[in-house]
Symmetry: D3
Subunit: 158 residues, 6 copies
């Protein structure tokens, strides 16, 4: 493990590190998180009685749009030309699993874009359920896998 | 509990609900989450050997700025005149607790602003540590307390 | 009719005019437009075979989010605390009618917010259909009605 | 014509489609629309008596800036490195024709950027004239021509 | 003079200070700066031969739009409902004086909005002249006067 | 020196000029400015008694984030994939020198990004000190050096 954070210089000052010498290559990242609420609230989100209800679509679209705002939200993060974003929401008993996959052809990875997509989708679910479940929790937001770049593939041990 | 989500109309269509009839009153919210990493990474973030290291300040400032972007990120969330934001980061053994308190004098609450501040601060920590700990996890992001508005005070059972 | 544009001073210079002396009152606006494409493309957007297809939801949510970006897009437009936004999409034979209603409690009207919601929803439909119908047209974007403010109610002659 | 919308997956979920396998090539798009108002209002916009009046310049600059916000406004639209934008406004009797030409060296086309430039310029004209003509209409916003990409040149039949 | 910065808490942590107890009152600020270049470049900006040249209008509009982005750019700055913005550009021999006046009905002052309008207008001039004068300088950006709020009127000694 | 501004066409209309024929090469820019206040205020910013005080970090991070917003603030400026940003603040007796270095691999230079980083960092300092020194001045904001591109290296005479 490095003995320091690359985002700080030798004096501890924040900087956007130089990626100019890295090649622009295909990179992907998959991130995941979970919104934990109640079974009844998940039923409202899924809205079985309303075949075209927008709740999950709203979160999915917010997550995709959120991925594009990543470098605007995270101060030391590089702007990247995003090639693709998918946000997958899997409601089950009292929980919605949120998964985002992002890819780029760029000089640095898209881990932060995938994590941002998951959290913005999660916050959007939170917003929709907070009147019925103020105690809902967004949890276990983490990187699952990334590919491309100098270090190649990384996968979370499961 | 309501039998439906207020953000959807009777046909399940997403909408920004009308808060025009609600009074503009003082409202506060406190949210919390945790970045879980390793003890060694927390030592790098705290940077004891670098008294003015910017790592925690970067996350704090990103969280404050993030609170102001809430209605831009979350589609059905109302824009609100934010009165105050504080973001508190408490590093301990392998974990950084993130707490955000937001207040407004507005027609709806600031729960989403506080939760957004926590997640953006958390994502910013993630960005700084991802080269040394790609497995870091942002977890237990939830509302702790809110005051003001028609429903008055709500506190998470602990 | 005034003999000059209020957004220009006596020398013709652009300015954001002073609304500080106007009272903050309830104001509403309804705007409408149409996306003209083919009957087959409208069938794809409605996606009868896919009960939860996101196409119309994507446009609706983009329109709502677009309303909140109005003062960011239009240089001389005042930022306003939006109380409510609804975007209604009515697909029929070869056409999608887009209607947006916005309200505020503010010092100036929300005509531009309603028109922006219609156009951003329309552009989002355009984006989704452009591969199958590059000739789709967004047309007849106009104010239908506004209420509130010094001039009271205005309704388009129909 | 494709039998489905590329922006939706097989289950109808919205996604930002993957353009990573497409080459970054020169692509251009030309879009057009019209603001329909009265001859008197067009005279105010042109401001013959005020040689340096800012009205048309304001719309032109808003349109150029709007082109750069396209992927921020339209959820499933890719961010692109824009090479050039021009916005041309041609006032005539009761109408202002708005034309925007955008080019990129990118992996997908700039149709949406050109259409967004036209609509933001049009909305900005609307904002300036709405006090004197609340009934102004932005109409016939459509793609005129595009070049580059796998499908080569497309031109609207006229 | 206070013995500490109000934007830092007792431990030196950045925060957005609480303005919720302050009344929403009329406040104004006037800021000024100068772009210093050559007499020849000022002639190009003024474009005497081109009666409708957009150079100064572009800077004016960018400054007005910039005022609205202030709380987005400056981390600890409160969002405010801006009532009015004017940006005045006075070209003279080798220099363009930039003056911005902003007003609000809000809980804190608009000094930063006026200063941001001046600097964004100045940067926009810089952008337009940099190919002909890379050495242009934006200088003496400062507050000239503010009124309203607890401390009343402040005027720069001149 | 050119006899006209490249950002205006032959009729004086603003445009974003076409950089599509230029190669994407490494380009750097260094800009500098100074915040002039009092020695006492500089002591508050440096906060010797508070080893982890955030004042300078807040300005540094705002400057870095500001560089990424450049094409959003300046109407005719191209969006660029920024490779690196550093913001260096050097407090001395009554003055803080602000220096920003930005690099890209792009089709046009990053002078405006470096100048924007300096001014946003300067405005952020202004915001923090304005309660104790409303007369603080941001001055001498200028390009120091640029490299890359067709014209190669340019250095300010000193």
């Amino acid at each position: 493990m490095p003995s320091s954070l690359t985002h700080l210089d030798d004096d501890g000052r924040a900087r956007m590190i130089d990626v100019g010498a890295k090649p622009a290559t295909r990179r992907e990242a998959l991130a995941r998180g979970r919104m934990v609420t109640t079974a009844e609230v998940v039923r409202l989100l899924v809205a079985d009685g309303l075949p075209k209800a927008d709740a999950l679509a709203t979160a999915r679209i917010a997550g995709i749009a959120g991925a594009k705002r990543t470098s605007d939200l995270i101060p030391l993060c590089h702007p990247l030309p995003i090639d693709a974003v998918t946000v997958d929401l899997r409601p089950s008993d009292g929980t919605v699993v949120i998964e985002a996959r992002v890819s780029t052809t760029g000089r640095t990875g898209v881990e932060m874009e995938a994590l941002t997509a998951v959290t913005v989708a999660g916050l959007t679910l939170h917003d929709m359920v907070k009147a019925v479940d103020p105690g809902a929790t967004l949890t276990d937001v983490q990187l699952v896998e990334k590919t491309g770049g100098k270090h190649g593939r990384w996968t979370r041990d499961q």
